[in-house]
């Protein structure tokens, strides 16, 4: 079976399609292929390409039916592990939920930094707030639930976990994720003075670099 047949195209109004894929990896590959084709000028007009956890929304499509037929013939190559730019995020592993996460992981609090920073992550999609990226890359045995009670204020720069995702809060908001650390200077996460205001755009690879004095 080719990748193309794994696409499930769902209608989303008169000018959009929601393309569903079997898993996060194939969603990332399909998203990368869309960006490649758009850069090459071979993608029909699409105003917004919005990845989700298992989907990519194609919005602002003049003829969704025609695009849906074309997608059925696509051959989507798997995404190479080293495909895309890498962003390094420095972290002090000092979050208020560090001990709780360590307990869920069955390790000591002083081992969370080494564990969390040993993986390379990828921005699967954005949402919740401008510049808030949902990072995949933690293996399933390290997935943790959200907190039972959300915090009314999570500070900007908080490094957080929920389900399969890691994230860094670009600004202070309410939030229910488990906080394990702090990015000392979170300003670059969302910087309107740059042409690309978001540091963590979908597809970007991310490495967390522990800072001294954390543990």
């Amino acid at each position: 079976m080719t990748e193309g047949r794994l696409l499930q195209v769902r209608p989303a109004g008169r000018h959009a399609l929601l393309v569903q894929l079997p898993d996060a990896e194939r969603t990332a590959a399909f998203h990368a292929e869309l960006l490649r084709r758009r850069a090459a000028g071979t993608l029909p007009p699409v105003a917004e390409i919005v990845p989700g956890a298992r989907t990519v929304l194609l919005d602002g499509v003049p003829d969704p039916g025609e695009l849906a037929r074309r997608l059925a013939d696509w051959d989507v190559p798997p995404r190479a592990a080293d495909d895309g730019g890498v962003v390094e995020i420095h972290v002090r592993y000092d979050g208020p939920d560090l001990a709780g996460v360590a307990a869920l992981w069955g390790i000591g609090p002083d081992e969370v930094a080494a564990t969390h920073s040993s993986y390379t992550y990828r921005v699967a999609f954005c949402g919740f707030a401008p510049g808030f990226g949902y990072l995949t890359g933690l293996p399933p045995h390290l997935h943790v639930p959200r907190r039972d009670t959300p915090r009314t204020r999570v500070p900007a720069g908080a490094v957080a976990l929920a389900g399969p995702y890691s994230a860094v809060y670009p600004r202070a908001t309410p939030g229910g994720w488990q906080l394990i650390g702090t990015m000392p200077d979170p300003a670059p996460l969302w910087d309107l003075t740059r042409d690309e205001p978001a540091l963590l755009t979908p597809g970007t690879r991310v490495r967390f670099v522990p800072e001294g004095g954390a543990t």
């Binding site: 989303a12 956890a53 990519v56 954005c126 401008p130 949902y134």
Partner: protein, 285 residues
């Protein structure tokens, strides 16, 4: 130096809006922009402005403004009494406001949102290509407050020819044509029938993010969590309480509640003018 507007009375909620912030949904940036886009466009056309020039969008109680030099304005959208220094002037047509006179945009007599267009447009600093206030994520200028001073752009050299503008009346009942999907299959067949046969009412908790409704709850086939996915303008999202919410311009770009259908975009301007309590029917579209 171009003209400026001082906000004398900001009203319940008055924001700067234009045709919105496009192309950044993948970064979590909502589109925002005028909820009643045809009203904004018409008001701008009557002044010879670009159709998407920035205007002020009021909510129910209008606002009052004082220009520092003579300007031409159009107040349209939700009908309301309009005065200049206390004297009644035309609604829905160009009006001259002399320097230091107060333009009062009164409480809407029908509908929700009046639009105040000024020749030359509101010229606050654009953010990601738009001057719109985005109430979900806080991009663009904050909602206007008493005493704020808003810069204006240069008026068009040739004002538009006067023409009789057909302003649609705000809806006494809201009909929203809807196409099923992308997650209609998350709901029971009975829920789909209920959606297109029951009468809902506009909830007072509606805002620029969504038109909330009150009415029969829509039942899902099964519980379960939907992994976050992209959301379109007009999406009818069904949160756990089962009451459909129609996403308007400040809607989140991704969400985790299933979307049972999508309202056609041309119907959303009417939705923006539907007061709390207005009956709503979803029809196959």
């Amino acid at each position: 130096m171009s003209a400026k507007l001082t906000v004398v009375r900001s009203g319940a909620l008055t924001t700067v809006q234009d045709s919105g912030r496009h192309g950044h949904a993948h970064l979590g940036v909502p589109r925002s922009g005028s909820l009643d886009a045809p009203a904004m466009t018409l008001a701008n056309r009557l002044l010879g402005n670009d159709p998407g020039a920035a205007v002020l969008e009021t909510t129910l109680t209008g606002c009052a403004l004082r220009p520092d030099r003579g300007v031409t304005v159009v107040v349209g959208g939700a009908p309301c009494p309009v005065t200049v220094d206390g004297r009644p002037v035309a609604w829905g047509a160009p009006v001259r406001v002399p320097a230091d006179a107060v333009l009062n945009v009164g409480t809407a007599t029908a509908g929700v949102r009046s639009y105040v267009a000024v020749a030359g447009g509101i010229a606050t600093e654009p953010v990601l290509g738009s001057r719109s206030t985005d109430l979900l994520s806080g991009l663009g200028p904050a909602p206007v407050r008493d005493g704020d001073v808003l810069p204006l752009g240069a008026p068009a050299r040739q004002p538009a020819l006067p023409f009789a503008a057909p302003w649609p009346a705000p809806p006494a009942a809201l009909v929203l044509p809807l196409r099923p999907g992308p997650r209609a299959d998350w709901f029971t067949p009975a829920a789909l029938r209920t959606l297109t046969s029951a009468t809902y009412r506009v909830s007072p908790h509606s805002n620029r993010i969504g038109l909330r409704t009150e009415g029969p709850a829509l039942e899902r086939r099964s519980a379960g969590e939907l992994p976050s996915e992209g959301m379109v303008l007009g999406a009818v999202q069904v949160p756990p309480d089962g009451r459909p919410v129609v996403f308007l311009h400040d809607h989140p770009t991704t969400g985790g509640y299933p979307v049972i259908g999508v309202v056609v975009e041309t119907a959303l301007a009417r939705a923006a003018q539907a007061c709390a309590g207005t009956p709503v029917r979803f029809t196959p579209g």
